[in-house]
Structure formats: structure tokens, C-alpha cells
């Protein structure tokens, strides 16, 4: 009677039995009424953003490696292809969209670089020998270069086998900072065949389009040669420079990421820095930064203090997020290029693996629906003070 219907005959028999049990009849009638009341509860519409929230949670869980630990079924929201990356959450390997070279190709590239380095070094040694008439651009402000390479290389993760005698090799810095020297420098380079390694990779000024293509592959580095690393880093950290702040959406470099960038910068470093008098002793203080930019608008939610480590002298590295467009990359270069600063796009032979530290609080942003995300691209920036 409450849960279903009895056959008519059976129902009559039951009612006959209950004739003298009014409390039973009352209970059954109440139960029927209550059941109807429950059944009449209106159905409410599910929140429109419910599925978006589910997607966001799944994305976050997949990034954090959380959940059940058994996710053979891929839950795709269309952003795994590297075309869409949240401006707010940090990058993750699976979303980087970087083209990875095969190990064989990478080793081949490294071997080619070493061969080139050997040739260049040999040439430099020959040109800088006693009685050599080589007129290197090092006759400029960096002429007093001391052969600091050996000691600095000792604590460099990937030390190039550059001999101490390679002092006069210089290209990039002198082009912009030596005034009349660049023309002479270029001719000297051509005459002597002394080329910095990154110059081999980038013989002409790189276009923004080319830089964008490299950035997508993780093979772009922005090299900033400045008179004061501290000042340049400060501009990045504080966000006071509105031009810079308008281009860069976030600044970050985990210690591991900074290490990789530093290694890549070391490999791509022009030779003159090995002998720069300002390179100083190998234990000179310098910084690797992971800057807090949480005070900036539309900047990732990062609250940790900048990570300061003692690394190679006069160098600081960061990874900045910018919009993946040639205009944005060009603007970044312009914004970094203050007076007395030289900014250069550097093509790296190998992509820098990006695997920044991932903190749970960063995943908060992943609760935002993907439709609110904007794509960004991470570019390593190396500040060097010669």
C-alpha cells in the first residue's frame, strides 16, 4: 500500500484486518502522504558551470598527480596540445608543447658545438699568440681581461674547455657598448674568424617571428647584458617598470629551472665573458631569482620569497611568461633594453627543459574555467654583468 499496490482481493483482506487498528491505518496514510511529499520535491537545475568545475579539478589533479593514481583514461579538455596554457597556473611539462629532440639529435648537436668550439679556440689561441697581429675588439673596455675562465669553469655544471689564452674573443657586448668599436669588431671577427658560439647560431639579429618560433620550441633565451644585474633584476622583481609589467605576466624560476637556464646560458655564452675583468673571483656573490610578482595584476599567485642562491658571478636568471606573439616578444626585448643595456635573442641548440616547482596553492587558479585562460609562453632571461 505504501511501497506498491496489492491485488484488489488482498487489499480488501488487509483493510478488513486493520478495521480495528486506527493507528495502523493512520501510519499507512501518513506514509503514503510523506512519500508523495518527497516525490513532489522539485527538481532543481544543475549549476551551469558544474562541468567546467569538474574539468578544472581533473586538470588540477592530473597536474598534481593526485586523484586515484589510476588514470589510464585521459581526460582531455583540449589544452594538452600546448596551444592553450593558463596565464595564471604555472607551466607543467605535459602542457609545455615543446618539441623535444631525440637524444641522438641532441648529442649530435652537442658534438657539433664542441667541434666548433675547438676550432674557434684553436683559432683564438693562434691569433693571440706572441707577436700575433690580431686586432681583437678586446682592445676596448674589456681589454684588461684576466683569464678567469679556468677557475670559473671549475664550478660551472657544463664547463667549456676554453683555454686561458682565449682572452680577446668578444662579440656581442662590444657591438653595442663600444661605440665606434663595433664596426671594427665585426671586421676583426671576420678577419680572425673568432666567433662566439651563440654568434654561430645567430649570425644576424633575430627577428621577432624567429624568436617566437624558437620560444615555442624552448630554444629561445633572452640575454641581457647590463651594467648592474641587481638593478635589472630589481626592475623585474618590483614590477615598477610599467612597460615591462605590461608585457610580462609572471616571473618565476624554480631552483631546478634556474639551474637549467644557467647551464644553457653558460653553453651559449659569448667567449668574452670568460675573460671579462668583471667576472671576478669564482665565489663572487650573484643571484638566481625566482621572483615574487604577486603584487602585479594578472600575475600568477606566487607568494614565496625570491630564492637566492650563490651561483656564478654576476649572473641572474629568470623565466618570464609572455603572450605567445611576435609583438609580445619584441615588446619584451624593448622593455628590457634600458639605457646602457644590451638585449639579445639567443638561439639555443637544445631546448631548456622546463619543470618548475609546482606548489598546491598555484593550482587554485585551475578552478577557473579554461575559457578564462589565456595562452602564455615561458622565456628564460639571463642577466649578465660583464
Amino acid at each position: 500500500m505504501v511501497e506498491g499496490r496489492l491485488a484488489a482481493e488482498h487489499e480488501r483482506a488487509v483493510l478488513q484486518r486493520w478495521k480495528n487498528r486506527p493507528e495502523v491505518i493512520a501510519f499507512v496514510e501518513d506514509a503514503i502522504q510523506d512519500r508523495a511529499g518527497l516525490a513532489s520535491l522539485p527538481e532543481v537545475a544543475a549549476p551551469v558551470e558544474l562541468l567546467d568545475r569538474v574539468e578544472a579539478v581533473l586538470e588540477r589533479d592530473s597536474l598534481l598527480g593526485a586523484g586515484t593514481g589510476e588514470q589510464p583514461i585521459e581526460f582531455s579538455t583540449g589544452i594538452e596540445q600546448g596551444t592553450l596554457v593558463s596565464a595564471r597556473p604555472p607551466r607543467a611539462p605535459s602542457f609545455s608543447g615543446r618539441r623535444r629532440l631525440s637524444p641522438a639529435l641532441r648529442y649530435a648537436g652537442l658534438a657539433a658545438m664542441l667541434v666548433l668550439a675547438t676550432v674557434v679556440t684553436f683559432q683564438m689561441v693562434r691569433n693571440s699568440g706572441p707577436g700575433s697581429s690580431s686586432s681583437s675588439i678586446v682592445q676596448g673596455p674589456v681589454e684588461a681581461a684576466g683569464p678567469a675562465l679556468t677557475s670559473s669553469a671549475a664550478d660551472t655544471p657544463i664547463a667549456m674547455s676554453e683555454p686561458q689564452a682565449e682572452a680577446p674573443g668578444a662579440v656581442a657586448l662590444s657591438k653595442s657598448e663600444l661605440g665606434a668599436a663595433p664596426d671594427r669588431a665585426e671586421s676583426d671577427i671576420q678577419e680572425s674568424g673568432t666567433l662566439a658560439m651563440n654568434e654561430l647560431a645567430e649570425p644576424a639579429e633575430m627577428t621577432a617571428d624567429r624568436a617566437l618560433a624558437l620560444a615555442r620550441e624552448g630554444r629561445l633565451m633572452v640575454r641581457v647584458v647590463t651594467g648592474s644585474v641587481d638593478r635589472a633584476v630589481g626592475r623585474m622583481q618590483t614590477g615598477e617598470d610599467r612597460r615591462l609589467a605590461s608585457v610580462v605576466s609572471s616571473v618565476d624560476a624554480s631552483p631546478a629551472d634556474a639551474e637549467r637556464i644557467a647551464v644553457a646560458a653558460e653553453i651559449a655564452r659569448p667567449l668574452e665573458f670568460a675573460t671579462s675583468p668583471l667576472d671576478g673571483p669564482t665565489d663572487a656573490p650573484s643571484t638566481l631569482i625566482a621572483a615574487d610578482r604577486s603584487h602585479l595584476p594578472a600575475v600568477s599567485l606566487r607568494t614565496e620569497r625570491p630564492v637566492i642562491e650563490r651561483r656564478q658571478a654576476r649572473r641572474a636568471v629568470a623565466r618570464v611568461d609572455v603572450a605567445p606573439s611576435a609583438e609580445a616578444i619584441d615588446s619584451l626585448k624593448d622593455a628590457l633594453g634600458t639605457r646602457g643595456t644590451f638585449v639579445q635573442f639567443v638561439e639555443l641548440s637544445d631546448p631548456i627543459p622546463s619543470q618548475p616547482a609546482f606548489r598546491p596553492e598555484q593550482a587554485l587558479w585551475w578552478t577557473q574555467p579554461p575559457s578564462t585562460w589565456t595562452p602564455t609562453i615561458g622565456i628564460p632571461v639571463v642577466f649578465e654583468q660583464p
Binding site: 499496490r5 501510519f27 501518513d30 512519500r35 508523495a36 518527497l38 558544474l50
Partner: protein, 232 residues
């Protein structure tokens, strides 16, 4: 049995009315349910084959059902949304465990119930430990005089005083009692399905259902001190 004045007719108000009405209507509902189940299975198979678009289709088909189930169990819109979200996430994460032996809807109800009951039990423990005798946070309080107060539900839905009282009474029950009443009376599951969802024997379902009805009646009478002779 004569109906009490004001008692809603089962055939008009109970969702099972159509299904139990017999004849063509029951047959039609049965066919529709079978078709739905078939579509669910097809979507699950598509997901297992790697069809990414099938996710949204499957979840979209059931999100309202899951949300409503959660809402009626907890009586709180925000909490129901959280629980529905957790449920749908678990469905995605565990879909490979669905072996097709049970109906997909049954499997989905089981996950929903597990998520909701876990939360309700945890909340009950929390309330006990804090000596806080308040009803579940956000749920309409039994005897709190919900008349004149908007229920915690989307405003587009017409909520009567009866609905408010039923929801409040439901919220005052033990989680297991709520679950069995909601499954039986708002989702029209039969005893076997409820037993499968709650993973208890059918006999337990029957006895628990009886106690739940008695508890609900008691709670409603507390909310209606003047008796219920006036009907809803």
C-alpha cells in the same frame, strides 16, 4: 483505502506513478530507460576507446540527476554543488572500473551516495566532537520555522511550505535514512536497486526503509505541531 483530505494523489505526484500506472505508459517509460541505459553504455565504451568528446556528453546527461540527488540529501545548494562535482570527478577517474554488470545509473547512484554519505558522516562526527547540536550546516533546520524563509534552493523553483518541511525533516534524519528515502521516493528505485546502490541486503533495505518512514513522520510532526490534518 480512502485518501486523506489534501493528500496528493500518487499517480499525479509520484514519479513512479507513470511507471507504475501499467499499460502503455509503463512500457514507454521502460523503453525510454532502456534506451538511456544503452546510450550510457555506448558513451562509456567510447570513452574507453579514447573518444574525448564522450566525456562531456556522459557527464552532461547525468549532472542534473547527480546534483539533485546531492541537493536532496544535504539540503544545501553550495554543498550539493561541491558533492556533485566530487561525484562527477570520481566517475571520470573510475570509469574503467564500470564493468557493465550493473546499470550505469545504478553505478552512478552508488558513487553519489558514497560521496554524500561520507561527507554527512564526517560532518556528524564533527558535530558530535564539537558538542554542537546544530543541524547540518546549511540545511534547513527541523523545527526552525522555515515558513517565510526561502529554502536553500534555486529561486526559479517553486517551493511550497510542504516542500520546505519535507526537506527540513529529511535533513534531520540519519544519513542512511535520508539516502534510502531519497533513492526510493525521489528516484523510484526498487528494493533490489537500492540494495545494490547501498550495498546492503534487500531485507536491510526494507527494514531501514520502514524505520526511515517512521522517523520522517516524526520529524514532520515536530515541524507541524498542530498536526497534519490540514494536509500539505
Amino acid at each position: 483505502m480512502p485518501e486523506r483530505p489534501g493528500s496528493p494523489s500518487r499517480s499525479s505526484q509520484h514519479p513512479a506513478g507513470a511507471a507504475h500506472g501499467g499499460g502503455a505508459a509503463a512500457s514507454s517509460a521502460s523503453k525510454a530507460a532502456a534506451a538511456d541505459e544503452h546510450q550510457d553504455l555506448a558513451l562509456v565504451q567510447a570513452i574507453l576507446r579514447g573518444d574525448q568528446a564522450a566525456w562531456r556528453l556522459l557527464l552532461g546527461r547525468h549532472q542534473a540527476n547527480v546534483y539533485n540527488l546531492c541537493f536532496k540529501l544535504v539540503g544545501n545548494r553550495d554543498l550539493a554543488e561541491d558533492l556533485a562535482q566530487d561525484t562527477l570527478v570520481k566517475i571520470v577517474q573510475h570509469v574503467q572500473r564500470f564493468d557493465g554488470r550493473a546499470k550505469f545509473s545504478t553505478w552512478l547512484y552508488r558513487i553519489t551516495m558514497n560521496v554524500c554519505l561520507s561527507r554527512l558522516r564526517a560532518e556528524k562526527v564533527r558535530r558530535h566532537s564539537s558538542l554542537d547540536d546544530q543541524p547540518y550546516e546549511g540545511a534547513p533546520a527541523a523545527g526552525s520555522g522555515l515558513a517565510g524563509r526561502e529554502p536553500d534552493a534555486p529561486s526559479s523553483v517553486q517551493w511550497t511550505e510542504q516542500h520546505r518541511n519535507v526537506l527540513a525533516a529529511l535533513a534531520s534524519l540519519e544519513p542512511e535514512q535520508r539516502a534510502i528515502l531519497v533513492l526510493r521516493d525521489t528516484r523510484d528505485l526498487d528494493y533490489d536497486q537500492i540494495a545494490e546502490v547501498l550495498e546492503v541486503p534487500v531485507g536491510t533495505v526494507k527494514s531501514r526503509l520502514f524505520r526511515a518512514r517512521a522517523a520522517l513522520r516524526e520529524a514532520l510532526e515536530e515541524l507541524e505541531p498542530g498536526g497534519d490534518d490540514d494536509g500539505p
